[in-house]
């Protein structure tokens, strides 16, 4: 059974804290993604990675960074959390090649609240 796991389901942090969100996939996928999901806005791409140590900015990278040291793990870092980063964060992975048709497999999400 394919799986994408995220380190926390719920997280509460204070403004200014450094926050790490971890994602692990067991499908040997090359591509990994971080999205945030907000009501009425859908899923917005923050960063994606197509290989170890490779990363590309998505639509809303400001205030975030990522790390991919191993193929199965993709971390999202909030350098200094702010209240406008309160959101649901979803990690996903997919195979490369034939990109338009690739199914993305999602983790269960981390609901982050920044106070």
């Amino acid at each position: 059974d394919v799986k994408v796991t995220q380190s926390s389901r719920y997280l509460v942090k204070r403004t200014g804290e450094k926050v790490f969100l971890e994602c692990v996939q067991d499908m040997d996928h090359e591509n990994m993604f971080w999205y945030r999901q907000d009501p009425g806005l859908g899923l917005r791409l923050i960063y994606f990675s197509y290989d170890v140590k490779m990363k590309e900015k998505g639509d809303i990278p400001e205030g975030y960074s990522v790390s991919r040291e191993k193929k199965e793990r993709f971390s999202l870092i909030l350098e200094s959390a702010s209240t406008n980063q309160t959101s649901m964060y979803l990690c996903a992975s997919s195979f490369p090649g034939g990109l338009p048709y690739n199914e993305q497999f999602f983790g269960p999400g981390t609901r982050l609240t920044v106070l």
Binding site: G42, L43, P100, F106
Partner: protein, 111 residues
């Protein structure tokens, strides 16, 4: 402004009713996907459509890709409470590589 506009945003119906949700854009897509997301879970792919005019059926769900590849619809026949969830359309623009998601239609089916 969403590149993929989904309508309606919210739908509450009785078990057994039929419904259609829509995904529209002014852009042409090389493919469109429909995902369902249940509370507390990530989205799960239901179907991918790639050819203009294509129709795919998944039990009581019928998916159609518009002839011009700018829109798609999802029709559910005889809805059941288990169909409750957030339905997201997602697509890759022709010539692009990134998947774009709509804001979703939240469906609630009452028993």
């Amino acid at each position: 402004t969403q590149l993929l506009e989904q309508s309606p945003q919210f739908l509450s119906i009785q078990e057994g009713e039929n419904l259609t949700v829509y995904c529209n854009s002014s852009s042409v897509f090389s493919s469109l996907q429909w995902y369902r997301q249940e509370p507390g879970e990530g989205p799960v792919l239901l179907v991918t459509v790639v050819t203009g005019g294509e129709v795919k059926k998944l039990k009581r769900l019928t998916f159609q890709f518009g002839d011009a590849r700018k829109d798609s619809s999802l029709h559910i026949t005889a809805a059941q409470p288990g169909d409750t969830g957030l339905y997201l359309c997602a697509g890759v623009k022709t010539g692009g590589f990134k998947t774009i998601f709509g804001a979703g239609t939240r469906l609630f089916v009452k028993a």
